[in-house]
């Protein structure tokens, strides 16, 4: 009888704990709603810290939905004029010195973008997290003095760049303040930390993110958004291969 009572108590305790946490997928939808926009245009800086030193790159980007994005590197001089165009799952890069654009595909998408801690796959990931991952809340914790839900995400598809993720979501602003991304083997591949956020219109948006590729030497990459506008009209020409050469 005692054992039975103990089991009942334990079960109700576990159930109580579980009921305390909100639905992970609902949280993910709120994150997507906050982060996602139909279109945007931004000017940003990427500070890449390698073993040899650091370099800062200035980038102007246009994004439309999940499928289309276009970036142009404005500096440093060696990289100025390099452009990237993403159309659905395809990525083209234009190099002004060679005056050629080539498509990047296969394992090359896992390579670093301009020596940073971001891969082309990271850069191409525009889809909503909810569409890519199943989520459960496993706990709560304070990160950067803010209360966060801990979410564990498992990819819905087998060919996703990261098989699973652990994300600390700000309870009030629905931003992924910290993230750990894991490969198929369960190895930690990347860490991200949102270091600064800003309220732009009705949404809280990260304006300084730190990326660290755990398989790469160096001190990580800072991605800083200097200017961003949401829900703007972008001419269709911007997302064509012809735009790469102009």
């Amino acid at each position: 009888m005692r054992i039975f009572l103990l089991i009942i108590t334990l079960l109700s305790w576990v159930l109580n704990l579980y009921c305390q946490f909100p639905d992970g997928e609902e949280i993910l939808k709120k994150v997507d709603a906050n982060m996602y926009s139909e279109s945007s245009m931004s000017t940003s800086r990427m500070i890449i810290q390698t073993r040899r030193g650091s370099k800062t790159m200035k980038i102007k980007s246009w994004v439309k939905g999940e499928e289309k994005s276009f970036s142009e590197y404005l500096s440093p001089p060696k990289d100025a004029g390099t452009k990237m165009l993403k159309l659905e799952d395809d990525l083209w890069i234009y190099d002004p010195d060679a005056d050629r654009s080539v498509q990047i595909s296969g394992h090359l998408l896992r390579q670093s973008v301009m020596g940073s801690d971001l891969s082309y796959e990271d850069l191409m990931e525009e889809a909503k997290l909810y569409e890519l991952y199943e989520a459960i809340v496993t706990g709560e914790e304070k990160k950067q003095q803010r209360s966060c839900w801990i979410l564990e995400l498992k990819s819905r598809k087998s060919d996703e760049a990261y098989k699973s993720r652990k994300v600390w979501i700000d309870k009030d602003r629905f931003l992924p303040l910290q993230e750990e991304r894991y490969g198929k083997s369960g190895k930690l591949l990347k860490k991200t930390v949102i270091e600064e956020v800003k309220k732009i219109g009705e949404r809280w948006y990260p304006i300084q993110i730190y990326f660290k590729d755990m398989l790469k030497s160096g001190d990580g990459t800072y991605f800083i958004i200097d200017e961003i506008e949401f829900e703007i009209d972008i001419p269709a020409y911007r997302f064509t291969k012809a735009a790469l050469r102009n």
Binding site: I48, K78, V102, G115
Partner: protein, 421 residues
């Protein structure tokens, strides 16, 4: 006495034919294998020195830790003053800065769209200034079609890759890679010729371009991945000595970008390979002498049995046992010498043939990634001329010495009884 014994060996064919055959064959095999192993060692050293390791190599400390990945982003910067110092300190050594890097080769169609694309391994060397790299890489001999680059933005590509991608000679291709700081980079080059080195790892997909072109493509002005040092001849001891002196003078263990010099034998696990081959060579000769001794001992015993009556008669007519034993040893010496000479002539002939022609091992090295020529050649050295004498004469003498002991077991008192039967 020696003349008598020598004539006996030559005239009594039943006494000498079998041991002569065994010794000749054994000596021949010893020389061929010895020369082939020498050739293998020399080719391994030469191919690695030419294409990868130099006799000595200078990189940064950070680069040397991952040198198999050729991390040119950790390469040497502003290396000109260093080369000037080296030229003063070691005027007999040729110093060659190089950049090894990987990337993609992209062949465009008439609209500039990708027609064919493949992974490529690039080698940036001084092609347009000086003739050292051209002769070191044996580029004139390796050239299958076209010509060597004569101006900037011209490259050579592996013949196999050119055929696979159907790149017309003289056409423009794009090399895609990353700069020293990791940025995306592309460069257009004209394919002026195709090459085949006979080294599987190089022939699969390599491009050779000028060092300056590589530097500008990879944003590595006045920088190189590594500096190779080559002497006239490989000398392990001197290379180690130079490396130690250099590291004492220039290398700082606390600075990962300070230069460090590494001798050939400490690169690419070559130390183990060369040591194993060296040990195996001696081991092989020892085992061979031992086996030959057993065979000749057996042959001596058979001879002893066949010559049982002859030896008995010689003892009966008063010949000294020591004299007979000595005479048998002398016979063995003559047989050994004659067999060794025949074997040496045959072995050297075959070895010279292998040295000149080589053996095509491309089928065996199809998937090989190490720098090893697919045409394996022997190398006849001065040692090849006498190496066969050791097992040839040694085993013959040892065999006779073992089997001849039986002479001392014969009892004079029983000789007539034995002879009656």
């Amino acid at each position: 006495m020696f003349g008598f014994l020598f004539k006996g060996v030559l005239r009594d064919k039943t006494r000498s034919t079998f041991p002569l055959l065994i010794i000749s064959a054994g000596v021949m095999i010893t020389i061929v294998v010895y020369s082939w192993l020498n050739g293998f060692i020399e080719m391994t050293i030469q191919e690695n020195a030419r294409f990868d390791t130099g006799h000595i190599k200078i990189t940064t400390r950070a680069y040397s830790e991952m040198s198999d990945q050729k991390p040119y982003d950790l390469g040497l910067v502003n290396f000109d003053p260093l080369i000037d110092d080296l030229k003063n300190d070691y005027p007999e050594i040729i110093w060659l800065p190089r950049i090894y890097f990987g990337g993609l080769i992209d062949l465009p169609d008439i609209h500039g769209e990708t027609k064919a694309q493949s992974e490529i391994y690039c080698l940036g060397v001084n092609l347009l200034t000086g003739n050292e790299e051209i002769s070191l890489l044996n580029l004139r001999k390796a050239l299958i079609r076209g010509r060597l680059p004569s101006q900037k933005k011209e490259i050579l590509v592996s013949n196999e890759l050119v055929e696979k991608m159907k790149i017309p000679l003289g056409s423009q291709v794009t090399i895609i890679s990353s700069t020293m700081m990791g940025s995306f980079t592309m460069g257009n080059f004209k394919v002026t010729g195709t090459v085949k080195f006979g080294i599987r790892a190089m022939d699969r997909g390599t491009a050779i371009l000028d060092l300056n072109d590589s530097q500008s493509l990879l944003d590595m002005e006045e920088a190189a991945g590594e500096i190779l040092g080559l002497r006239k001849e490989y000398n392990r001891r001197i290379n180690h000595q130079i490396s130690e002196n250099f590291n004492r003078k220039f290398s700082n263990p606390d600075d990962e970008f300070s230069p460090v010099m590494i001798p050939l034998s400490k690169q690419n696990n070559l130390k183990n390979l060369l040591q194993v081959i060296d040990e195996r060579k001696n081991y092989f000769i020892f085992v061979f002498i031992f086996i030959m001794s057993l065979v000749l001992w057996n042959s001596g015993l058979m001879n002893g049995i066949r010559r049982y009556g002859e030896i008995g008669l010689r003892l009966a007519i008063g010949e000294n046992k020591h004299h007979i034993y000595f005479a048998m040893l002398m016979e063995a010496l003559f047989v050994g010498l004659i067999g060794s000479m025949i074997g040496s002539i045959l072995g050297l002939g075959i070895s010279y043939l292998f040295q000149y022609k080589g053996i095509d091992t491309s089928a065996l090295l199809k998937e090989a990634t190490i720098l090893m020529s697919t045409n394996m050649k022997a190398k006849v050295s001065i040692h090849s001329y006498y190496i066969g004498l050791i097992p040839g004469v040694g085993a013959s003498l040892l065999g006779a010495a073992f089997s001849g002991i039986g002479i001392y077991r014969r009892k004079t008192s029983e000789l007539f009884k034995e002879l009656e039967t």
